[in-house]
């Protein structure tokens, strides 16, 4: 479906070269992490279910570059990219995926529940659409505490059909909450093409039902995402209320690692990967404009590789939790304080 392009102020051009490189660095770190996670899962180093963010890196990267550490995000089952872009450490992430004690959730969460509250990453979510109202609640906190913190809610095209989407956007709109709803339209919800399950021509069209702004951007173009997010997050921070930003992208990998992908052709995937790889596109742009050298790219890539290798080592060398650790963390109090509660 076509969409009308909105021209956001091009704040990207005002960035220092370093900041521009940081966008690339984040995308490459995500890609490198995810690629290794895929292998590790297939090698049975990682149990559970893993949903990869490969091909969608520009969205988390472009949005998060506009957030402060004390801003919040809510994520989805496909949360690794969001976590990395928001500032989580890849070693503790990897340890979590490995089910180790040193993981962010001490091995209790795994991939589907990756989270780092200390950097405002309020958690991946195993329930599609479970994050909308958590983000709304964060926005309410900002209002109650009279801070200028902003919350960003990431969600899929499939998630846009959950009732929680509706209730969250409506409440955010009537209370003018500082929340940006970022739709990652990767054209599939599991096996189901977006157009089959989502009645709106564009998910951004749904904004009208809440009297808020809604825009669609090329989610494989990190600059477009950056500029749109910059404008909308600034508006939210200034009390202008929520907005809906639809980022068009494509899910390069299966829905989960191991997905037989019977519902689409290899050609379709290949075409998208070649034409729309957000990293390649951004590198080409930077090179075109002489904003980066091959050596710099290689350095970023090498750095990412060694970071992820170290993360893997950290995870591998970390101990598993003790079985009895499974009893901890249900409540704020300890078994000694309140034995009935933690039988």
């Amino acid at each position: 479906m076509p969409y009308q392009k909105k021209e956001f102020p091009n704040r990207f051009t005002a960035l220092q070269k370093d900041a521009m490189h940081n966008l690339l660095r984040t995308m490459i770190r995500i890609r490198t992490f995810e690629s290794r996670v895929e292998e590790l899962f297939l090698n049975k180093k990682i149990p559970g279910f893993v949903h990869l963010y490969i091909g969608e890196e520009a969205i988390a990267t472009g949005v998060m570059a506009n957030l402060r550490k004390d801003d919040w995000i809510t994520s989805t089952h496909r949360g690794h990219g969001h976590a990395i872009a928001k500032g989580a450490q890849t070693d503790r992430m990897m340890a979590e995926l490995f089910g180790r004690k040193t993981g962010y959730c001490k091995g209790k969460g795994g991939s589907m529940h990756i989270a780092d509250f200390s950097v405002g990453m309020l958690g991946a979510n195993g329930v599609v659409g479970g994050g909308f109202n958590i983000a709304v609640g964060a926005g309410i906190s900002s209002l109650i505490k009279k801070t200028d913190q902003v919350a960003v809610c990431f969600f899929g095209d499939g998630a846009s059909n959950r009732g929680t989407f509706h209730e969250a956007l409506n409440l955010a709109a009537v209370w003018k909450l500082p929340v940006l709803f970022v739709n990652e339209n990767n054209q599939y919800a599991s096996t189901t093409p977006t157009s089959f399950a989502t009645s709106a021509e564009r998910i951004a069209d749904r904004a009208k039902g809440y009297g808020i702004e809604g825009y669609t951007v090329d989610g494989n173009n990190v600059i477009e995402v950056y500029n749109a997010a910059s404008a909308l997050i600034e508006a939210a921070r200034k009390g202008k209320g929520p907005a809906l930003l639809e980022c068009l992208t494509y899910r390069i990998k299966g829905h989960y690692v191991g997905d037989p992908e019977k519902y689409r052709t290899k050609e379709e995937v290949q075409k998208h990967f070649v034409e729309n790889n957000p990293i390649t596109r951004y590198i080409n742009y930077l090179k075109d404009k002489n904003l980066i050298t091959d050596a710099e790219i290689d350095a970023i890539q090498a750095e990412a590789s060694s970071e992820i290798a170290a993360a893997e080592r950290f995870a591998e060398e970390s101990p598993f939790p003790e079985p009895e650790d499974a009893l901890d963390d249900l409540f704020s109090f300890s078994p000694q304080e309140f034995p009935e509660a933690v039988r």
């Binding site: 919040w72 809510t74 993981g103 962010y104 959730c105 001490k106 091995g107 209790k108 969460g109 529940h113 989270a115 780092d116 509250f117 200390s118 309020l122 958690g123 979510n125 195993g126 329930v127 479970g130 909308f132 109202n133 958590i134 983000a135 709304v136 609640g137 964060a138 926005g139 309410i140 906190s141 900002s142 209002l143 109650i144 505490k145 913190q149 919350a151 009732g163 929680t164 209730e167 969250a168 409506n170 409440l171 009537v174 209370w175 901890d328 963390d329 249900l330 409540f331 704020s332 109090f333 309140f338 009935e340 509660a341 933690v342 039988r343």
Partner: protein, 326 residues
């Protein structure tokens, strides 16, 4: 001690906590403009401005946002209007709120309170008469409380607001206008502790919420027949105070559990199961349960009366565990 109503008592709890802590706020449907059906929010808008808020009819947002707010440094109190509507936000309660601390390895406190007016009142029929504590019994990670009087309402609500864990606060609609003594000054009713409302020696009657007063009435009548009933008011329904129950049962050797919710799968099941498990050889009779018959609550007064648990059901159960003829 003053004598104030249950709704007034909850209002005082709100006022005290909101004055003390600017991060406490409260929201729900139709609470600002009418001050709550029983005046339980009256005056809060004047004093606290937009820290008390009306929301759209969006229960998933109400409850889901409570989690988001709690995770980010505030202490939300969300009003459900009717406990029946907890079903609308059940995923938020069961899969988000209850699991958050655990599945994220203890990263955050979750100081939130969900106020849920429940119970049979005024022929409100199937969808507005429920006691739904049974719905959340099998969900680890929740604290559930249910006051039975103005004093416990105030004390428990204050404790709930201070608790760094999610608390569902069931308040029976019939209790709101009822008056009772409430201590002067600040006090807290501890979460997790049952209270012995009336000591007794022949039979233990475990109960909570509206059924406490019905139990007291029955006990008073039975006293005249020489039957001494010990009444335990649970106050916290999850996790409930097993120790106090067991201690009493080990003394009386007989136990009846009474609640307004339907019997099958109700909280009484867990209580009975646990008692027989932990005090089997102390029991001289089975633990009997009193509650609504296993039906939705019907509208017509004749039918409602028949389905709802009555004082007479409590009496009969007590006779039964004492092997007396009714």
């Amino acid at each position: 001690m003053r004598t104030i109503s249950f709704s007034q008592a909850t209002l005082e709890a709100m006022q005290e906590e909101m004055r003390r802590d600017p991060t406490v706020f409260v929201y729900g449907e139709d609470i600002v403009r009418q001050g709550g059906i029983f005046g339980q929010f009256k005056g809060l808008p004047e004093e606290f401005g937009d820290r008390i808020r009306d929301v759209p009819i969006s229960e998933t947002a109400i409850v889901g946002a409570a989690l988001g707010a709690a995770l980010t440094g505030t202490r939300p109190v969300a009003d459900m209007h009717f406990a029946d509507f907890i079903g609308v936000a059940f995923d938020e309660i069961a899969n988000q709120i209850a699991k958050n601390r655990y599945m994220f390895g203890g990263q955050a406190n979750i100081p939130l309170v969900i106020r849920a007016p429940d119970g049979i009142s005024k022929q409100a029929a199937a969808q507005h008469s429920q006691s739904v504590e049974g719905w959340v019994q099998n969900i680890p990670g929740l604290i559930v409380v249910a006051p039975s009087s103005p004093a416990t309402a105030k004390g428990l609500l204050k404790s709930a607001i201070r608790q760094n864990d999610p608390v569902i606060f069931f308040e029976h609609k019939v209790l709101y206008p009822q008056k009772g003594p409430v201590p002067d000054g600040e006090y807290f009713t501890p979460i997790g502790k049952a209270e012995i409302r009336k000591p007794g020696t022949d039979v233990t009657l475990v109960t909570y919420s509206i059924m406490v007063q019905k139990s007291e009435e029955v006990a008073m009548e039975l006293e005249k027949e020489g039957i001494s009933v010990e009444i335990i008011d649970l106050l916290t329904l999850k996790p409930f105070d097993t120790a106090t129950i067991l201690e009493s049962v080990k003394k009386t050797h007989r136990c009846v559990v009474a609640h307004e919710a339907v019997v099958s799968g109700g909280l009484g099941a867990e209580i009975a199961a646990r008692i027989q498990e932990k005090a089997f050889f102390h029991l001289d009779a089975p633990v009997l349960r009193v509650g609504a018959k296993d039906r939705p609550i019907p509208f017509s007064p004749v039918l409602e009366n028949y389905i709802a648990a009555q004082k007479d059901d409590i009496r009969k159960a007590i006779y039964a565990v004492l092997y007396r003829e009714g």
